[in-house]
Symmetry: C2
DNA sequence: TCAAGCTAAATTGTCGACAATTCGACTTAG
DNA sequence: CTAAGTCGAATTGTCGACAATTTAGCTTGA
């Protein structure tokens, strides 16, 4: 018998961390909004103890800022932080691509080619480019990162930076990188990895991410960012 | 009037975080040892609430591991994690050196040359190579990181990874990189930065860190690491 | 009219106690 | 003698309440 509806984590604090992370990323908690501990505790039906532990974790993830005796606020997005984040990503995922070229198995390479073929098919047939672009892109990058076999690298990229990156993508959802262009770049990266050309793989991955950053920057300059509202005033 | 003896942080949790971080890095809390919440709370004269918040932060820093309903343990060091950490450092400090070459001011360059001159003088005159090697090295790297002006990069390197790196250095204190060799490499890196050669600066910084990692690896293979003891059994 | 000071309400930080789970020692059956 | 089971002590997770600080509004004086 499976429980799917109610994902019960081992501890309330972990549970809250997941939920709050989702709420921040999805915009339920608007950008820059104040976080009231009594209010959140009542909303989730828990005491402030585990809630505060969750907030400490959210702060470590860079999703909120906390000030002593004042409280917590959801972070605000700005171009500077966006570019900083993507530069960091460029360095780390570039290294991940290099390591992947050295360490990936032939089977994983084959799976990645299949993944890109599926992605291509989606783009050719389907009109729903949004889905293919979003999840196909994410999946490809995550697999490269995993293939690096570097636990620290994997942790920083998939735990610490992941939520932040998703936030920026969400708030710049309108103008997104051309999925066909992205796919071409993915193929080039994968070719380099398959050929065990670490230098080239790193170079291509860096360019790929740098290009994405440039596009996101343009998107942020057009859309004024500071309009994430879903909660009650 | 200044208070220096008693550094009183705004909140007990922050205070505890600093103290516990120091205890882990300095080996007061031995590697792999269990952390008892009641015992620590009594030792510091605080309740378990702020202590637990501090432990959450320590976990985010990668200094301890926590398991639900079981408790917290100080991490253990191993060669795999050491190499992973230094590979990550290589990618990030390499990028920092590249950015520094683009963004650093002439005055900062001059200060860095002065720093290296001081370091050189220490090595020529003084027998206390340990000090010069340790702090001179740290200072140089920190300044390059700061010169990158990338807040995210600075945060990960100086907050998240710093404690871990210091731990590895402490437990492999015996055989440490040749300080004269390190100084030569620092000078080469600084020359590249001063000449605004970002590519070269990144390359040299990467080699420099990679070399340090190789030496630390050898040190760990000789010294058996698992002998960090200072507390009571 | 505006700035400074004061008061009260609300929020954050901290504490001690209770509930739930784990771990160890002991017992007991095979 | 070993292995499974049981019971109790200890530890972790959670809660509600109190203390300390901040914040907002009001008052007061220049």
């Amino acid at each position: 018998m499976e429980k799917v509806t109610q994902i019960k984590s081992a501890t309330l604090s972990d549970d809250l961390t997941q939920r709050l992370t989702a709420e921040v990323v999805e915009g339920v908690l608007p950008l820059g909004s104040k976080i009231s501990e009594p209010e959140l505790a009542k909303r989730y039906g828990v005491s402030r103890g585990p809630l505060r532990e969750a907030l400490v974790k959210l702060e470590a993830l860079g999703l909120i800022t906390r000030t002593a005796n004042v409280g917590a606020r959801v972070i605000e997005l700005n171009i500077e932080d966006l570019l900083d984040t993507y530069t960091l990503r460029e360095a780390m995922e570039g290294m991940a691509a290099r390591l992947a070229a050295e360490l990936i198995s032939e089977q994983e390479v084959a799976e990645l080619y299949t993944l890109l073929d599926d992605h291509q098919a989606h783009l050719d047939s389907n009109k729903d480019e949004h889905y293919a672009s979003q999840y196909g892109n994410e999946d490809f990058h995550l697999r490269i990162i995993q293939a690096s076999q570097n636990k620290k690298l994997i942790r920083v990229l998939t735990q610490d930076l992941y939520a932040t990156i998703r936030m920026y993508r969400r708030y710049t959802a309108d103008s997104r990188p051309d999925p066909r262009q992205a796919l071409r770049e993915h193929k080039a990266i994968l070719d380099a990895i398959a050929n065990r050309e670490g230098d080239l793989a790193e170079l291509l991955m860096r360019r790929h991410i740098s290009r994405a950053a440039t596009l996101l920057k343009k998107a942020m300059l057009h859309d004024s960012i500071s309009q994430g509202n879903s909660g009650q005033p």
